[in-house]
Each structure stands twice: as structure tokens, then as C-alpha cells.
């Protein structure tokens, strides 16, 4: 135990002096997450507001055939602009991306309208382009509005109550809480925490094997009267400390950063107060041991520092996989998910942030199973540290 502590203290001291380790543990992980998050939030806010506020430019061919419609569109914040000369040119312009959408009013429009025939009108858009799709949706809803306005007028003119065309009165009641709505976006937070945690210990993990070997300090170290188990445990311990540090900073920086993000505008009120921050730390802490052990393990197979960096960036991404799968399939927390490290932390954190009750059994399984995985990988690491091939 004394030896493990000596190794631990030396590793901590050495890495506190290493600018690269400090940068990745104290800056990269904790800062990167909130910045990326803020960026995405702002992007989605912009998106959702710009649609209504921004004037949509709509090239219309044959404006002279439907002056009333053009006026109606202008009233709906759609700027009707001059357009390519004919139908073919308009389709071509949308195809090449010169315009997102175009509206074509045929010569027969006015006649058909007067004859109370369905008047043909064409909307050209590229549905694979999400910007165009949003624009098309706005135009479509404007046209639908114009359509029902005309229908109402026609019915009134014939002495029919327009209500006959509206047999149903649909009223939607949305029961999702404001916090619940934010879940999708906030679900990303758990990955940022895992990322920050792993980043914090990355360079220490590399140093434990590949780094020491490359520097030539591994062999003298192994020729000392200490067991290799003691060395690797001290090193993994130091890696864990840096990971905890990085995790803590990352949680705190989110706690602060969320206050400055205009989340209410998106209808979100995430619960990330001090209590949740502490709970989240306790929830993610077991993952630290697992992360440290896996990173040390992977680094021990590599031949050089550079190779270790390459492989460890794969490890940085690996924990996202279960999170992504569950997010795509929008699965609810289930008992068996709690056995999967990173996934269980993610699901439980989402519940906490959404202010929903957290199942205590789920927490217990998550903590115990992640710790067991951590212990298993630490054991494998220690076994592999004993092999001769370690010297490379």
C-alpha cells in the first residue's frame, strides 16, 4: 500500500507539472463540452425563430395571373420576388440550388378559379434540402390558409355555414413537461461528461506504459524491488484522480454555463442545480475506474506514444455508441440497460435532469456493475503489466 501511494504521489506531481496533461484534464474536457453545447443550443434557437421572423423570399412565376394570392402571401411575411422566365427555368433553378423553392401559377389559374374548378398551382422544392423543406412548409401552410379562406367565402356566398366543412374540432393537449422537452438536447450532456472524464486521464494512461517505455524509464522502474501490481495500481490511481478532477470541473462548468444559455426560449428548464451536480458526480464516479483501466489497457498494447494517442481517441468515442443507439431508438430506461456502463449513467442522468423520479434499484445496479467492470479491467491491466512483452 505504501508503495502504491509513492507511485501515486509521484505520478500526480509529475502530471501536474505537465502542461499537456493539465490542458487536456482541466481545459479541454471541461470547456469543450459547454462550448459545443452552447453552440448547438444557439443554433437550434436561431433555427426555430428565424423561420417566423425572417421574410421568406419566394420566386413566383405568373404573378400577373393571381394578384390576390400574391398579396395574401406578402401579408404572410413571404416576399414574392421576380423569378426565372418560365416553368422549365424555375425547375432548373431549384435543381441547381439557385433558389430553394419556386411557385408556378399557370395562365389558367384565374379562369379555373372563376369556374370554381380546383385551380392548379405548382410548388417546386428540393425535399432533400432541409432549409428548402422548411421554406416549402411555410409556403404550403400559407397556400392552405388562402385555400380555406376562399372556401369559406364561397360557402358564405352560397348561404352555407362554413362550419359544415369542419366536422371535427381537434385540440391537442401536450403533457410533456418543459424539462422533458429538453431531454433530447440535454441527453448529449452525459457524453460530454464521459468525454471530459476520459480526456482527463488520457495522458496519464499513455504514460503508464507507452510513455514510460518510449522514454526508457520503464525498465529501470521494473528492476526495482517492487511488484508490478503495485506500480500499475499507483498509476491507475493517479489516472483516476485526474479523471475525477476533470469530471468535477466539467460538471461545474455545465452548472454555470446552463445559467447563461437561453434555454427557456426553447421551452426547456433543465434541472442542473447543486443537488443534481453532486448526484451526477456520484453517478459518474464509478465510471472513472473503468475508464482509467480501459485506457491504460489499450495504451499498454501500443508501441509508441503516438500510436497510443491514436488508439485512445477510439476509446474516447466508444462510450457514445450505446448512448447513440438508445437515443435513436428512443428507448426508456430499463433494468437490463443498467448493467451497461456509460449507457446506465446516461439514462439516469437524463431522468435527473428532466426532474423525473429516479429508480433506486437502477442506480444501485449501475454503480455496482460499472465498479465491477472497472475492477475486472484493472485486474486484466495488472495481469498484462506482468508480461515480458511490456518492455516492447
Amino acid at each position: 500500500m505504501r508503495t502504491i501511494l509513492i507511485v501515486f504521489i509521484k505520478e500526480v506531481l509529475e502530471n501536474l507539472r505537465d502542461r499537456r496533461t493539465l490542458a487536456s484534464a482541466l481545459v479541454m474536457g471541461p470547456i469543450f463540452g459547454p462550448i459545443l453545447f452552447a453552440f448547438m443550443i444557439n443554433l437550434s434557437i436561431e433555427r426555430s425563430f428565424e423561420d417566423v421572423e425572417r421574410t421568406l423570399e419566394l420566386p413566383v412565376i405568373g404573378q400577373e395571373y393571381a394578384p390576390n394570392l400574391v398579396r395574401y402571401l406578402r401579408g404572410r411575411n413571404i416576399d414574392v420576388i421576380d423569378s426565372p422566365l418560365d416553368r422549365t427555368a424555375a425547375i432548373e433553378a431549384v435543381k441547381t440550388g439557385q433558389h430553394d423553392i419556386a411557385l408556378i401559377i399557370p395562365r389558367a389559374f384565374g379562369e379555373q378559379l372563376a369556374d370554381t374548378m380546383p385551380a392548379k398551382i405548382e410548388l417546386v422544392s428540393d425535399q432533400a434540402n432541409s432549409d428548402a423543406d422548411r421554406g416549402a412548409r411555410r409556403v404550403r401552410s400559407a397556400l392552405r390558409g388562402y385555400n380555406s379562406e376562399l372556401a369559406t367565402l364561397r360557402l358564405s356566398a352560397r348561404g352555407v355555414n362554413p362550419m359544415v366543412l369542419q366536422p371535427l374540432n381537434i385540440d391537442e393537449i401536450d403533457v410533456s413537461t418543459p424539462s422533458g422537452r429538453s431531454a433530447m438536447l440535454l441527453g448529449m450532456m452525459s457524453y460530454f461528461f464521459i468525454f471530459a472524464t476520459l480526456m482527463g486521464g488520457m495522458y496519464l494512461a499513455i504514460d503508464a506504459t507507452a510513455g514510460e517505455r518510449e522514454r526508457g524509464s520503464l525498465e529501470p522502474l521494473l528492476s526495482l524491488p517492487v511488484t508490478r501490481d503495485q506500480l500499475i495500481l499507483g498509476k491507475i490511481g493517479a489516472t483516476c484522480l485526474f479523471m475525477c478532477l476533470s469530471l468535477t470541473l466539467s460538471l461545474l462548468s455545465f452548472h454555470v454555463a446552463l445559467k447563461f444559455m437561453p434555454l427557456e426560449q426553447l421551452g426547456m428548464t433543465p434541472n442542473f442545480g447543486p443537488a443534481v451536480v453532486i448526484a451526477a458526480f456520484l453517478l459518474f464516479a464509478p465510471f472513472v475506474l473503468l475508464g482509467a483501466a480501459i485506457m491504460t489497457l489499450v495504451a499498454s498494447f501500443t508501441k509508441s506514444y503516438r500510436e497510443a494517442q491514436t488508439w485512445l481517441s477510439v476509446v474516447l468515442i466508444a462510450p457514445t455508441l450505446p448512448i447513440v443507439v438508445v437515443s435513436i431508438l428512443t428507448l426508456r430506461p430499463k433494468l437490463e440497460f443498467m448493467f451497461v456502463p456509460s449507457l446506465s449513467q446516461h439514462l439516469l442522468l437524463v431522468d435527473m435532469v428532466k426532474n423525473e423520479p429516479v429508480n433506486n434499484l437502477h442506480v444501485l445496479i449501475s454503480v455496482v456493475s460499472t465498479l465491477l467492470f472497472g475492477a475486472l479491467f484493472t485486474w486484466i491491466c495488472a495481469r498484462l503489466y506482468r508480461r515480458e512483452g511490456l518492455l516492447g
Binding site: P220, S223, P225
Partner: protein
């Protein structure tokens, strides 16, 4: 005292060492001489227990390096080939770290480290971080680190590699000092003159085997060569012819 008996070690197809035996007694300097790739480092690595021999045995002061590797390591100060330091620690901290790992009590570490720093004449840069040290400075600190727990047996793998004349001379003085203290010093080299100038006993290794061993006079007599270099070539040719 180091005793090596018929050790074998292969890495896959490559037979690095097959059948090396020799003794390195206390109070003497024993040189392991041989061309590059002869198996010197592998032999020494078995002795400081980072490699396990496939066959044969070796003992440090009678302690088996395989069966009781931890106890054997306690009796060794090793300077592996191309030893590196921790660049973010000072020279002093590098030495103190090893002292602590060797079990020296916290209260005694400072005195011990001071002593070894004086012995190796590294006072002037002991307080500096080792990043950017010259090869000579690095070797001295590595040596201090290896000797800090005052081991009875000292194993040095090509210690003079990359050292300039002055550094080589001070290394030589240190090795002689250790001999006078009654230590068992075993070092490897591919530089003939160095071995000739320092060693009491020489063990010439070629192709993983002992070509010849004994005192310098012994070797001259048995090969019929006056110059050690000729004797060296002679012995190696004999092994390679077999």
C-alpha cells in the same frame, strides 16, 4: 556476487542467449564484452529480472532471480541500456522516487539522496528538471538512481554509451570506487579499450554463447594473442565457425 548458470532465452525464432554461464564475484569488476546483438543485454535483463530465462538459472547473492525475483531485485542496482528519466521531475526528485520505491524510509531519503548526489558529482544540476539534460547528465542521474539504495550488486548495460571523454573518465572512477567498497560490478560494453582498462574478469559473448572468459592475462594466454583485441576477434571467430 552474481552467478549465472547455463541460461537460455529465445524471442520467437531468435535465440538470443543459449547457454551463458559465468560468475561475477564481490570486490571485482566483471566485463561482459561482445559485438552488437551478441546477447549481452538479454543476459543482463535476465539478471535484473525483467526477463525470465527459458532454461538455466541465475542467482544474486544466492537468491534465485526467477523464484525470488523481488528479493533478488533488492540486492541489485541496475542501469538498463538507454535509461530514461522523468522529464518533469528534477534530478533530485528522480533519485528520491527510486529511493522511496526501494524502501528507504522517508526520514532517511534526503540524507541518502544528498550522499549519492555528492558521490556522483551532480550537485550543480540536481535541482533542475531533467528535461533537456545532456546524455552525460542523464547517465549520471540514472546511475545515482540505481545506486541510491546502496546495492551490493551493480549491473550496468553499456553505461558509457554516448558519453564524452570527461564523463567516461568520471564513470570509470566511480566504478573503481564501487569495487573498492567491495561491491560486485557487472557491466557490458562493446568497447574493448574500456573493458581492458577497467575489468578484472572478462566474459566475451558472441551469438548468445560465451566465447571465452577469465582474467585479461588468462585470455591472452589461452588465445595466444598479446593484444586483447586480437584475442577478442580470435574467440569470436571460433564461436562463429562452429
Amino acid at each position: 556476487m552474481i552467478k549465472v548458470e547455463d541460461i537460455h532465452k529465445s524471442f520467437g525464432e531468435v535465440r538470443a542467449v543459449h547457454g551463458v554461464s559465468f560468475d561475477a564475484p564481490d570486490g571485482k569488476i566483471t566485463g561482459l564484452l561482445g559485438p552488437n546483438g551478441a546477447g549481452k543485454s538479454t543476459t543482463l535483463r535476465v539478471l535484473y529480472t525483467v526477463l525470465k530465462p527459458d532454461a538455466g538459472s541465475a542467482a544474486i547473492d544466492g537468491v534465485d532471480v526467477v523464484g525470488e525475483s523481488l528479493r533478488a531485485r533488492q540486492r541489485i542496482g541496475a542501469l538498463p541500456h538507454g535509461s530514461g528519466l522523468y522529464p518533469h521531475l528534477t534530478a533530485r526528485e528522480n533519485v528520491a522516487y527510486f529511493a522511496r520505491l526501494c524502501g528507504i524510509d522517508k526520514s532517511e531519503v534526503d540524507d541518502r539522496v544528498d550522499e549519492i548526489i555528492r558521490l556522483l558529482e551532480i550537485e550543480s544540476f540536481a535541482a533542475r528538471r531533467t528535461k533537456g539534460f545532456s546524455q552525460g547528465q542523464r547517465t549520471k542521474v540514472s546511475l545515482a538512481r540505481a545506486l541510491v539504495h546502496d546495492p551490493q550488486n551493480i549491473i550496468l548495460d553499456e553505461p558509457s554509451n554516448g558519453l564524452d571523454v570527461m564523463a567516461t573518465r568520471s564513470l570509470r572512477r566511480l566504478i573503481l570506487k564501487l569495487k573498492d567498497l567491495g561491491r560486485c560490478v557487472l557491466f557490458s560494453s562493446h568497447v574493448m579499450q574500456e573493458v581492458a582498462a577497467l575489468c578484472d574478469d572478462i566474459c566475451i559473448i558472441a551469438r548468445g554463447q560465451v566465447a571465452i572468459d577469465g582474467s585479461i592475462d588468462d585470455i591472452r594466454e589461452r588465445t595466444g594473442c598479446d593484444y586483447l583485441e586480437d584475442a577478442f576477434v580470435h574467440a569470436i571467430n571460433r564461436v562463429e565457425a562452429e
